[in-house]
Symmetry: C2
Subunit: 180 residues, 2 copies
Amino acid sequence: MIYFLTGNKGKLYEATEILGAVQELDIDLPEIQDLDPHEVIKAKLKEAQQHHQGEFMVEDTSLSLEAIRGLPGTLIKWFLKSIGTEGIFKLADNEKNYKANALCVIGYSDKSGKTHFFEGRVEGTIVSPRGDSNFGWDPIFVPTGHSKTYAEMGNSEKNQISHRRMALDKLKKYLDNIEI
Amino acid sequence: MIYFLTGNKGKLYEATEILGAVQELDIDLPEIQDLDPHEVIKAKLKEAQQHHQGEFMVEDTSLSLEAIRGLPGTLIKWFLKSIGTEGIFKLADNEKNYKANALCVIGYSDKSGKTHFFEGRVEGTIVSPRGDSNFGWDPIFVPTGHSKTYAEMGNSEKNQISHRRMALDKLKKYLDNIEI
């Protein structure tokens, strides 16, 4: 049984659907400041291992805009809190550069404590907010090859193609292989 | 003797000048992600107390731009790393809003482990980079009532009026009183 370090029910549900049995572990782990999601994840897993034993997974999602050289990246939460989706769109619009990518990195620490990373990355375009969503920056991100924002897609449509889905699929493949 | 949790020789020197004896403690403490410097500092002091005993001080400096609703704040390090001083100036320039403030918060944990906070805040204006400096965002910040950027001032001129000086003075006053 893998403990998923998250307080987000949507993420937990998605992980359960793909991986099968996953146990939520909603402990309050601070996120360290670093633009490298691997460092953020390593710090969280290390902290978790001090409190609990077992297999853990933790995910970190970055949204990176070319207009501001990769920011906000791992710091997306604070951009949303301060300037919101409108403000983030404006940062791209000011530079007339709307290129962005969404990156999900999952860190999985196995029973021996070793950490493995799995990544899903989706290129896309930043647009003025469209679609109802309570989920972060979904209203401003259109994946390349699509016309809808993540927020305009239904959950099931989004979860077919999302950066998180890609990372979860890689983790599942890894787990399936080692369990054979 | 107070341990100053820093790896920055300039900050150590300034603190020593004002407070008298201060001991550098250059341990690698991760900074947590939070826009409230008090939270960042509390986490660092808590971590330090797990490794060492005694009195500690730690400082956190924020630069907040009105144009982007208070960002980068505590996240200034990563803005400098990604977009540099030119890029930060541009964020203000795009909005034609150059108002900013520099905030230094010092957390001091006494022998009993209780934490006290001291703040220094300087209002100012963001300008296109001027003046040689290896010190972060000094070339783009002009304190209100002055014409030079922090980087154009000499160290001694800057240290008379800086946000950090103000916070250090308050800490010194506190320490002087409790030692009587």
